[in-house]
Amino acid sequence: MIEGEGFWKFLERQIRVIIARAYVRVVGMNREPSWMLFDVSLPVLYLAAYLFLYKSMNADETFMGCLVLGGSMVGFWMNVLWGMAGQFYWEKEMGNLQIFFLSPISRMSILIGMALGGMYSTIIRTLVTFFLASWLFHVPFHVTNIWTLLAVFFLTLTALYGLGMIGSSVFMLWGRKGLFLTELLHEPVFFLSGFYFPVRILGFVVAGIASVLPITLGLDGMRQVIYGGVTNIIFLPVGTEILLLGILTVLYGIGACYFLNVMEKRAKQDGRILTRWL
């Protein structure tokens, strides 16, 4: 907040920043609709391979559902990893990072704007992928409670993007090592979060540890609601998962603010983080 500025004026400015930064992603998607084609067709192809295998094995339909949902939600993990956690790095390359830190704005507004913009385009992709895959491969779904579904879905996203925001500052502190870490994290997370199978299979302890990644809880919760009434794949009851996701959202939100401050302080002290060539 700028001294002498009222709270509402401050809030108005932050909302402007959030909208402006989110706009970049929305426009980006609309201007390059061909991206959509890749972003949808690749996951669908990937899913097809597994689904044909499952079908040939006469696997239970709930397992196919697991697969379709997981495969559709992959986009969020990719977006958080590359679009959120890696974003400050790219902003620096584009010369924008320094300008953010030169402006009288809350840096969180920038991150929130990025997150909302990223969510918008990823939600569209996810929905298209999900319905397309369900239709193509005849995987029926039956939503038991739309409100529970929305709650799990949005809390998963808030917690997940909160984690991404932490990543964006932490990666700046780590420099290039951060990018290597991103690549390193990629596959293990796919596995641990149970994108392609119910996480319960990993056992309670591993699934519990994997639950620090909101997507683990989110997938498990959403599967329960979307493929109505299945019980054989459940890790935790949906209610518990909603609660845990709420807690993760708060924790990661606080963490994001904390690491952002640490990063800014460090940047101002050693003068290397914000500028492109240092």
């Binding site: 001294e3 970049v24 426009v27 201007r31």
Partner: protein, 341 residues
Amino acid sequence: MTPAVLTGDLGRTFTAKPFGSKSHKPVTVTALSHVNLEIPPGELFGLLGPNGAGKTTLIRILSTLLLPSYGKAFVGGYDIETHPQKIRSLINMVSGGETSGYGMLTARESLWLFTQFYGIPYNEAFKRIDYLLKVVGLEDRANVKLHDLSTGMRQKVNFARGFLNNPSVLFLDEPTLGLDVHIARGVRTFIKEWMKEEEGRTILLTTHYLQEAEQLCDRVAIISDGKIIACDTPDGLKKLIPGRIRLELVIQPVNGRTPSWNDITGLNLIEEKEADNEILFRFLLNDEGIVHHIMNRLVNSEARILSLKKHEPDLEDVFVAITGKKLCDDETAEPPEIPEQ
């Protein structure tokens, strides 16, 4: 009256690992050393110094991107350490040679995004954007995506960005770096006009082009190795070296014999260029009497004098006289063409 910029004993050091060296012992680099500056509102203040002198470091401290190692700095009367957000609402900064924005957005949209950082309403924002795009000569490219613009054009968009919020203190770090001669000229003209447009606007401009400092700035500080070694109006600075004159001599050596100058006291050889059996010497003389010694040496060496010109000293001569160093270490770096006034 509150100074627009005030620094007290400001200093900054960096520790860096020596590049390419095997030892891991970090070295300490002094970027700024005990800087005291006071810039009143309404002044176009220049900071002139060679590469590595500490100009960018000072700008980054004043624009709240970097903390000093010691000393104090105030912008618009606010302490950079305790009131950075307040300062940010008053300032803007442009580094020459840099670009900003998003390739997917048009020039107009990118600039709109930056206006939102200052809470500028929609209509007002686009009015300023269109005006500034015209200033940098991009009105016909306003709706072209940034990644379809050349680097030079993107630099101009970034230059326009600095003026979006009508800053009361504007930091321009080598604003004409890398620009074409005629665009650099336009930029300088605009900077002057912008200062006149509203009373009390302040610019701190860094440059290593001495003519730029001389032509544009009300006052100039000369910085070298992190220290401000002189600070005055351009004319005032020249008075620091009274009686000095500059000579430009072109000769044709005979039998390969060139005169030697090094034992003449009060004579400072600034430049020596050889081409097509002609040699150009640029001297800075402590007083006119030294011309006599030069002529003697020429006679002894039997060289042919092709031309001999006498000049009033300029800021570069001041720089050389005070630091004993040249301003431009890069021989090929031509200073920008300055328009006739």
